[in-house]
Symmetry: C2
Subunit: 204 residues, 2 copies
């Protein structure tokens, strides 16, 4: 999916969705120029992004707003929902497990795992937290190819190894450490502290 789509365009899709959904219901049409101006983007860029969806703009009036919303949503969920799991049900894992924003991208977080037996059970939004020992069997059962690592840095590599063994093909890690995975298993790291440090360095 998204074969030809630049990552940065993909990242803008929910931004468009948010904006379009936030417009007054009375606005039937919306042009790429209007979207571009509202979001501070170039018009050509917006038009190129939206061309990845099935939406068709009309000369002079632009897109029918509701059609454009549906087209972006369809585009993002094109292949049906992908299942993802979380390892580490601490503060970060908790925040992510119950966050609803993944649906925009056709992703559903279906379960979390932890090694602390006191954390096991069901989350606020009704999602299961399983024992880490069940990870392999549950991940296989759930068909999850996506996983999010929310454990402390020192546990991140063994967790990544376990995930790879369980058939996971892509890992998002919040652990501030470099993970080694075999070829064919993609890893992205979100380093909140590093992002803040970069901002800090921008202050005169």
């Amino acid at each position: 999916m998204y074969k030809e789509l630049p990552l940065i365009s993909l990242q803008r899709m929910p931004v468009y969705l948010n904006y379009l959904k936030g417009m007054p219901a009375t606005e039937k049409f919306v042009s790429s120029g209007h979207i571009a101006e509202a979001l501070g983007l170039g018009e050509v860029l917006v038009r190129k992004d939206l061309a990845f969806t099935a939406a068709v703009g009309r000369p002079r009036v632009g897109y029918v707003r509701e059609e454009l919303i549906s087209a972006i949503e369809e585009f993002l969920c094109y292949n049906g929902k992908r299942h993802a799991v979380i390892v580490g049900y601490g503060a970060v894992g908790k925040a992510i497990l119950d966050y609803g924003g993944f649906g925009y991208y056709g992703i559903e977080i279906v379960a979390a795992f932890d090694s602390d037996s006191e954390k096991l059970g069901v989350s606020q939004s009704g999602k299961p937290i399983y024992d880490i020992n069940e990870a392999k069997s549950q991940i296989e059962r759930l068909g999850a190819k996506l996983a999010i690592i929310c454990v402390p840095a020192k546990y991140a590599q063994p967790v990544a190894d376990l995930l790879v063994e369980s058939g996971v093909k892509a890992i998002l890690s919040f652990a501030p450490t470099t993970l080694k995975t075999p070829e064919g298993v993609e890893v992205r790291q979100i380093d909140v502290a590093a992002n803040l440090a970069i901002l800090s360095s921008s202050i005169k």
Copy 2:
């Protein structure tokens, strides 16, 4: 601070720190080649990064490990601790307020703000959660120029405006929406869902 330092080098500093601190205590020396190999980086790149610190490598043996650790730590905290505040004490705000990893970069999260009176008080690690109405006075008092927005997307822009009014110069936002700020106020967005979507799109 970090005037000439590329952002990506800054981002690697804590990775080096983590690696160096994790080495067996018996390893007195460490070479840039060794670090490069362990972290899957180029040796020239590692040497260039470390040259931003005050550490001096010795021919053949490399750096004294403890000296290099101190040099990186000193480098990151060169200008003393910077204060940062959080707005929105939901699951994400909570996770960040009590996360200890910012110290690596010379940043201290000193307070959070929320509009829900039931959330006000003191966090697990002893940090204050103030009423959002106190934000301007407290941010000025604390001298915080850095802020992290952890509120839902629809509240993010008014919160950003309030932060700018309070003297904040750089904002890290977890809200999946584009923020407008005046010139001189830097914004970075961490979009967890978009990152996961990008990974998802990499799965064959």
